[in-house]
Amino acid sequence: MDFNYDDNQRMLFDMVDRFLTDKHDLAKRAKLLTDPAAEAALWREMAELGLMGAAFPEEVGGFSTSPADPYVVMERFGRHLVTQPFLYTAVIGGRLLIEGLSGADREEEIGMVIAGERQLALAAGSAHMLRSAEDTAFAAVPDGNGWKISGRMPAVLNGDRADKLIVAARTAGASGELAGVTLFLVAADAAGISRRNFRMIDAQGAAEVVLDGVAVGAESVLGSVDGGAVLVETALDHGIAATCGEAIGSMEYLIEATAEYTRTREQYGAPLAKFQVLQHRMADMYIQTQTAKSMALVAALSLDGDPAERMRMVSAAKAQVGRSAKYVGYQAVQLHGGMGVSEELDIGHHYIRLNFINQLFGDGAFHLRRFGALAQAA
């Protein structure tokens, strides 16, 4: 048993950290949010660095040797408060391409992602936070050799930047059933698709996506017809594990920043760090982060194992990390006082993102239910 990054991961970690230290800070991040060209340029730079390859094993053109590699990238993203959609494009989108395509198609599509020339977004589900595909808002009906897809989702994450959408559409059965959902890889500018872009509260991009009888060919199906929901389940588990890494990176940063702030900020004639109540608050932030981190690492390392075990560990991690993230974020803001609730400092932005992560991919209640059902069945 070993919880230290291996040599590959250490190199990946260093590479990402150096790049971000160099190219990213709160001011630059704010600029990116209003400058799509700069965002695109940064994305290309990250791709040139080879970052996307961390989400793909060698046999499909990447350099990943462990399913936990995206965790390493996202952990640094979390620390540096990066909003770039590695998660949606490379981790979740990438996993769907790996599992849903084969042969030359797969090579080409994945090649585009690795080269930084493709952004992906998963349009699955309805009003929930990208939790599963069983209740997708899209439906597809056969149309000649292909399909016609219709439906609307109010917020597709990374839908604003996506070149291709992975649309989960019901092709059989009833809403809520795992079977009967099919995944389609569709050009985002295909006829019949309309999008309106905006940002989520965590500053990451999204779009309302409306499909109005969009015609797609049979070759656009990812995986098997009616078998898409399980693929989404797998891909989201990969996404969750990576996002847990992001949260851990963010939380570890908040603990350091809060410790530093309380050491220097004086009140009533003493540094805040001298107040026992604040000391214990930080001790609790540490307890929450360390235990959540153990679970997050285990989830990342369970991704390529037995599916039931994977789901159990991923759900345990998501519930833990979400709870810890809320606590750590809340206390980091509280201990920073007024500065914590100002947009001028990064602390509050971390807090927002951590709360977003708690909701994303299903909240704690959802994952404890999934965990409990698996435990009761075992």
């Binding site: 936070m129 917020a155 509260i201 500053a203 009533y268 107040f275 807090y351």
Partner: protein
């Protein structure tokens, strides 16, 4: 012991409900309830409506143009206006400075300034916090140096609410560095519409502009703008804070949020089932509702004790701590109940026809994150707990 409310008070409550139903423009209520800010013009419209009724300065005595309400009437007003979604009017001028001027102002100050508040001509903001003096006011740095009939004031105020829409500010300033630190602090009225006063916005989480930094550099302020005596700010500040002691419960606003939460819980969620069938969620909602009930009755209990002449205990700190926590919990529930639609950034939403998400959801996340400040400002929850412990332990 008796739970009943005095008939006269109950009648006033009905009158308020009736008044809001008939006179509060629905658009104002809608904006207030979902957390969208009203324009200054809209505020003035509402002020005029209230003035007609005589309810525009609810804390003031009759002789100065107020309704002359007692504490119980004020609490009822807090509840009913919060429930109705009535905008909170120019609160700093009316609820904070007004009573201070009535109690401590010179005849000249009263004659000049009170009418300008009543007419909504003056909008005041409150300059207490500073970069190095948050909870700890004794560390105040803004200097006011006497020069003939003026003070020359220099310093920076931080977290100043409404400064961007105000034309005047009242500040705690240091007029002396001798003696005990508190004794050198004075309460000074300053015109903001003059050179040397700079207001810089500070955006709070979620992009809301609600506080500012106010820099004052070598600004001359006539000595006649002093409220009370030089070095006498401490008592005035205590009086001012005491005036809103029970308001930290945010009873009316919390009740209105709780009503929205309960209403949304009854709707169908993303999974196609009524949300109230989700017993984990239903329990969370019931828990906050019972917390709010307990807070509400604690407020009544403190008020009843006060009216019966008991000395106030640390219950006021209890109310402040719980009021903020409950509002945070309610706004979090509202955000979560709206699922992904509750997580959008309102400033980024396209408004080109049919809204992407229903209007009332657009501000959910912003509201939640903005309310994070409730347990920090006005004496953080840590300070409140220090106060409670000091009373319990006599340390």
């Amino acid at each position: 012991m008796d739970l009943s409310i005095d008939d006269k008070v109950q009648a006033l409550r009905e009158e308020m409900r009736d008044f809001f139903a008939k006179n509060l423009p629905p658009e104002f209520a809608r904006k207030t309830l979902i957390g969208e800010k009203l324009t200054k013009d809209e505020h003035k419209q509402w002020h005029a409506i209230l003035r007609e009724k005589g309810w525009h300065v609810p804390l003031w005595p009759k002789e100065h143009g107020g309704p002359g309400w007692g504490p119980m009437e004020r609490l009822i007003w807090e509840e009913e206006s919060g429930m109705a979604g009535a905008p909170r009017l120019n609160h700093v001028s009316q609820d904070l400075l007004g009573p201070v001027l009535i109690e401590f102002g010179t005849p000249e100050q009263k004659a000049e300034l009170l009418p300008r508040i009543l007419s909504s001509e003056d909008w005041w903001c409150q300059g207490f916090s500073e970069p190095q003096a948050g909870s700890d006011l004794a560390n105040l740095q803004m200097r006011a140096v006497r020069d003939g009939d003026d003070y020359i004031v220099t310093g920076t105020k931080l977290w100043t609410s409404y400064a961007h829409v105000s034309n005047k500010i009242f500040c705690l300033v240091r007029t002396s560095t001798d003696g005990p630190k508190q004794a050198g602090i004075s309460f000074l009225l300053i015109d903001m519409e003059q050179p040397g006063v700079t207001v810089s916005p500070i955006y709070s989480l979620g992009g809301m502009l609600s506080v500012n930094e106010v820099q004052i550099t070598d600004v001359r302020v006539p000595v006649t703008n002093l409220v009370g005596r030089e070095g006498g700010a401490w008592d005035i500040t205590k009086f001012l804070l005491g005036n809103e002691r029970l308001m930290g419960a945010w009873i009316g606003v919390n009740m209105s949020l709780a009503r929205q939460v309960r209403e949304r819980l009854g709707r169908v969620g993303a999974d196609g089932r009524k949300r109230s069938e989700n017993s984990v969620l239903a329990q969370r909602v019931a828990e906050v509702e019972t917390d709010l009930l307990a807070l509400r009755y604690t407020t009544y209990r403190v008020l009843a004790d006060e009216l019966s002449g008991k000395a106030p205990g640390p219950e006021v700190s209890v109310i402040k701590v719980r009021g903020g926590e409950i509002m945070q919990a309610l706004s979090e529930l509202l955000m979560e109940l709206a699922e992904i639609e509750g997580m959008v950034h309102p400033l980024s939403m396209p408004h080109d026809g049919v809204p992407v998400v229903p209007d009332e959801l657009e501000h959910m996340a912003q509201q939640f994150f903005d309310k994070r400040k409730l347990t920090i400002y006005g004496g953080s929850s840590e300070i409140q707990r220090n106060i409670i412990a000091r009373r319990l332990l006599n340390v």
